[in-house]
């Protein structure tokens, strides 16, 4: 059953990819949607079994590589962490699959697009259910491939091709670190299977490891190398340059891959390796610093961009930064929490932006939008919901997850924790600002588009809006529902933490009640799954979604339980008692809890002042702070620096080396020699022709040389 969840998307990919023509567009769309939705239904039903009842398991498929001590199997690992990821991936992927039917309705290659989406879903599922590092690497590169194919989907566009190449190659730089990390893991642990690594992580805490001539703390080296992979895949500062360019791909791709799932693979990787990172404090510190700075820098850039998708892309990068600094202070649960809520509201924002772009006849520049909110009210409302969740306005999903991250960072008490906290607060202000800048520029003010475009503006069809509703539901409620399970307090009774504005006390819920509600939810979900089989793709999607919600309900109820946090994650996340910042986050001072809300509110207000009420103010700021503005607008000049440092120099060295090959290596070696021998041969073979003669000639020369060598040097042999 659980194997089907993983391989159904692969099946869809193969059918739509290989027989797309025979199936027709409709057929491919139906099959791929069906496969992914089936995967979603199964994943969500597994949520009960694995996460709530704790039936974790590993399904061995077949052995992959066996060399000496190095044994790797194809195996699927279903534990709390992987099943939660599976639910997110399949639910968002289902939404995107269905949405794409509408979004790509004018495209010529529909079945190819659907096939790629399914391929991506399969690779991502392989990544999260991997039970060893190499299979994780398989999924890791697989999603990279799918991302490459989808960014470059419109392969007649040069910009799309360039962006897809950039994405693949920059990711490869990260993968380079990940690959070295895998090798280092094998050398240190003698295995790359998660079970073995995690079981022995504590024993290896003092082991040192030879690397580049020095002797270093083994787990730190491994942690940093693995993190390098995460930096690439999750677009953290330094290797982030591919993400904004990746917006060349069709918008559903941006929603699925570059917001909700693939870019969070790095977060997943670090969370997965929490048993190891817990013993590598320096690696964690690095993760935290990278995350904090990324959250800040990305937000500064996001404030200045005009392409609607790029604004959201930088916002994604910034939010990923939050997740990473949460990981860095050992708040793995908080990071995963934000990962889930972010998947919903960011996919919603992207698909909403897609809906706008679709309505505006493929216009992406916000300077050419404005004044359209009355024409597409549903999209407008949905974008509001997404932005509210993103900005962390109370009771929306992002509010819970972002606040717990900031509180954890503060609660960590270390200098880098505090640094991340303040960077995060600054980013929270900017997040609110650019979110409303986006809304105001896109929907309000005077229409700036051409009349022809304006006349054409229409609300998206139902096939695009229904997935948006599903995501909006997640953006509205996932925070509240998942809070207790993901980051709930472990303490009973008196020490119950009261989250700002969240007055629900966990102790009040009795165990019996929880079990009752849990089983209710479970049976409901089975009904849904059952019904789904008889329904068409659409309703199935909704069912899948209900299922998910039911799961959330059940889970929220069950984890009203006092020991919610630790039990919920069981062994899939490991936090040392002294590092338990999520626990400490529940007892931070009130101002720490309130500050993110306040700065968020101020950010929104500021956006209204600058872009709605006082139109000259934006210009005023850009002129007064011109150098700063240019720095942000030009994305801190990363692309320019990298171009000069790496891209150009690679080509220059390539040219130099190829000239060297011709002149130096050949000139001294074969060309010189062959000239010589040809001259000799030409003299000798004037009467003859044909290549065999030359061969014979050279053989004779060789034989003479051999004989003379023996005669002169080894005379004793004769």
């Amino acid at each position: 059953m659980e194997v089907i969840a993983i391989f159904a998307p692969l099946f869809g990919f193969l059918l739509a990819g290989l027989f797309g023509k025979g199936l027709t567009d409709k057929g491919s769309q139906f099959i791929t949607c069906l496969c992914v939705i089936a995967a979603a239904v199964i994943s969500c039903s597994m949520f009960f079994d694995v996460v709530l009842d704790g039936h974790t398991r590993i399904v061995d498929l077949v052995s992959w590589i066996t060399v000496g001590e190095f044994t790797v199997n194809w195996a699927l690992r279903f534990d709390q962490l992987s099943v939660i990821m599976m639910c997110v991936i399949t639910v968002v992927s289902s939404c995107v699959h269905v949405y794409s039917i509408g979004y790509m309705s004018h495209d010529a290659c529909k079945s190819r697009f659907m096939a790629y989406l399914s391929l991506f879903t399969f690779a991502m599922l392989m990544l999260v259910t991997a039970d060893n590092l190499l299979q994780l690497f398989f999924g890791w590169e697989g999603v990279g491939l799918a991302s490459y194919l989808l960014i470059g989907f419109w392969n007649h566009k040069d910009s799309a091709n360039a962006a897809s190449m950039k994405a693949f190659i920059v990711n490869r730089v990260g993968d380079f670190g990940l690959a070295l990390g895998i090798m280092a893991t094998f050398v240190v642990f003698g295995s790359i299977e998660f079970e073995t690594i995690f079981a022995h992580a504590a024993d290896m805490a003092d082991v040192s490891f030879e690397f580049w001539g020095g002797s270093y703390h083994a787990l730190t080296v491994i942690g940093l190398l693995l993190f390098m992979g995460a930096v690439g895949k999750s677009a953290q500062l330094g290797l982030h340059v591919w993400l904004p360019d990746a917006m060349e791909g069709p918008t559903p791709v941006s929603a699925l891959i570059h917001a909700a799932t693939m870019v969070t693979a790095g977060v997943f990787l670090v969370a997965r390796f929490s048993p190891l990172y817990e013993y590598a404090p320096i690696a964690l510190q690095t993760v935290c610093i990278f995350g904090g700075i990324t959250a800040f820098v990305a937000a500064t850039i996001g404030m200045t961009q005009f392409d609607i998708k790029r604004v959201i892309a930088y916002s994604t990068m910034s939010q990923l930064g939050y997740m990473f600094f949460a990981l860095g202070v050992s708040a793995y649960g908080a990071a995963m929490f934000h990962l889930v809520t972010h998947a919903f509201f960011k996919a919603l924002l992207f698909l909403g932006a897609g809906s706008v772009i679709h309505a505006m006849s493929d216009e992406q520049d916000m300077r050419n939008m404005g004044g359209i909110w009355k024409k597409i009210p549903t999209t407008y409302v949905l974008m509001w919901i997404g932005s509210l969740a993103l900005a962390g306005v109370p009771f929306f999903a992002g509010y819970y997850s972002k606040d717990i991250i900031l509180e954890s960072a503060w609660a960590d008490g270390s200098w880098f924790g505090s640094m991340a906290f303040w960077l995060g607060i600054a980013a929270a202000f900017m997040t609110a600002f650019y979110s409303w800048r986006l809304i105001i520029m896109t929907f309000h003010g005077k229409p700036r588009a051409e009349e022809k475009v304006m006349a054409h503006i229409h609300e998206s069809p139902a096939v695009m809006l229904v997935p948006l509703f599903v995501l909006a539901f997640g953006a509205l409620f996932s925070g509240k529902l998942l809070y207790d399970g993901f980051v709930g307090s472990a303490h009973h009774g008196s020490a119950v933490a009261t989250h700002a504005g969240d007055t629900e006390t966990h102790a009040d819920v009795s165990l019996k009640e929880m079990e009752k509600s849990l089983h209710g939810a479970e049976s409901a979900s089975h009904d849904d799954a059952h019904n789904a089989d008889h329904d068409d793709a659409h309703t199935q999607d909704e069912d899948a979604h209900h299922d998910d919600v039911a799961a959330d309900d059940g889970h929220a109820a069950s984890h009203g339980d006092a020991h919610a946090g630790p039990q919920f994650w069981a062994d899939s996340l490991v936090v040392l008692p002294e590092n338990d910042t999520v626990e400490a986050a529940h007892s931070v001072p009130l101002w720490v809890k309130k500050l993110p809300i306040v700065v968020g509110g101020v950010g929104i207000l500021f956006a209204y002042i600058v872009y709605m009420w006082s139109s000259g103010l934006a210009k005023f700021f850009t002129t007064v702070f011109r150098p700063l503005y240019l720095l942000f607008f030009n994305k801190w000049y990363f692309d320019e620096i990298y171009n000069a440092l790496f891209t150009r120099s690679a080509f220059v060295f390539g040219k130099i080396f190829s000239i060297m090959d011709k002149k130096l290596v050949d000139g001294l070696g074969p060309d010189g020699l062959s000239k010589l021998s040809l001259r000799v041969a030409a003299v000798l073979s004037r009467a003859q022709s044909g290549f065999l003669f030359h061969y014979a000639f050279i053989m004779i020369v060789a034989a003479v040389a051999i004989l003379s060598w023996f005669v002169l040097i080894r005379p004793e042999l004769f």
Binding site: W64, A184, V188, G190, F651, K655, F657, V665
Partner: protein
Amino acid sequence: MTEIPILSLITFLPLVGAFFILLIRGDEETAARNAKYTALYTSLFTFGLSVYMFCKFNGDLASFQFVEKYEWFSDLNIAYRMGVDGISVFFVMLSTLLMPICILAGWKSIKTRVKEYLAAFLVLETFMIGTFCALDIFLFYVFFEAVLIPMFLIIGIWGGPRRVYSAFKFFLYTLLGSVLMLLAMFSLYFTVGSSDITQLMNLHLPLSAQIWLWLAFFASFAVKMPMWPVHTWLPDAHVEAPTAGSVILAGVLLKMGGYGFLRFSLPLLPEASAYFSDLVFWLSIVAIVYTSLVALVQTDMKKMIAYSSVAHMGFVTLGIFTANVYGIQGAIFQMISHGIISGALFLIIGVVYDRLHTREIAQYGGIVKNMPKYAVVFMLFMLGSVGLPGTSGFVGEFLSLLGIFKVNTVIATFATSGVILGATYMLLLYRNVVFGKVTNKEAAKMKDLNGREIACFAPLIVLVLLLGILPNLVLDKTEATVTRLVERYNTSIELSQVAGEQNDIAPASGYRNADMLAGEPHRPANLDANASMKHDTMKQEKKDDAHVVSDVAGKGGES
């Protein structure tokens, strides 16, 4: 082994086919057609026989199988000895697999001297298989050298405009290396009094003698491989060779170098191999980085793939000289995988060359529209070449890197960076040829793959994916042989060091001192704690000890 002499049968069947082809008479067209079918059936039948042999091959045995021996120069103790072990059996398979594909590939594009062309290929097949099966050094030498003749003719007669230059370059390079190898073989023969490879393996030469012999063998195999800086013949040879010639050149001929290292350098001259391993590592690193960068700026498709071959072979030499089971298994796998992938890539170039008669990348672009099937096939092999997990390219590359990582992390880091560069030039090639805007109207009119071409690619596609997902199909069969090779290697290294031979010659690299130091009491605790190390190869442990010890010494000692 009283059964049929299956190896000789596989080896010489193509020669018989070639003989019959040359006998074919009739008007040109009929003769050409008959010759083609004769060649195809011969090569297919040979492949069938080799599959039969492969099925009978017992992967649990480390020794040579299907051994044949006939007296040749009995007075001199030189005999016709044939046999295959876990390493060579795959190279035989690779040769027999690629040959029918090559014959199909030239089906339409070769129009002159068709009979001779096909005969040359079949003769080439005989020599290639013979090289991999020979168990006598002189027999090996004869086959090894003989391969040059048909290849020389294939490039020189059916090649491109600069074919004569390229053919000579190819010939001179490889022959010069081989001459030195012949000297080494004579020397071995006179020392042992036998030319039987299995007997030579029991030989223990002093390091001073090994060094010269090793260099002589190295000269030949490094050129064949080709290693930097003796690689420049390869791009020229590839560019001028006809498609099928390139496929065989990249697919099989380059592997002879790696095979030679595994058959001679490591087992016969273990101490010299250890002595020179650092040199090989650095040459390989240069090959990987340097040729990848060169590949990046090429404007000729074939040249680009040719340079990429040099880079990929860099992983092979790295893997082989790690002398641990991971590196060697990886190297063997990488050679097999590269044989399939680069062969396929040359076929891919051949497909568009047949249609447009140019290899200039700039002449193509946007052909995904009119050749979607071609684009898919190209994509698959491009991904194999960049080593995407799930393709065979990944397994070999990763295992080689794993092997080298255990030995030297600096080298491993540089080598792994080749993975980034490899992706860069392959994606660039793909983008410029398949994607983008249509710049050449002729290119936009090209027809998609036809049935014959799909038949060429189909087996290669299956293999790339199959070996990527289930590489144990190969690794299981090579394991016994490789394990024994590594064990023997370690034993002789150990023996030589026990005998204190390191006094004979000044140690070149740090680890030759390792054994003296390793015996000292202060073994750092961290290595003992590391249980995973204990099953590692002996040599590796010593190297580690040497590093640790020298580190400790550097830090002023440890009590």
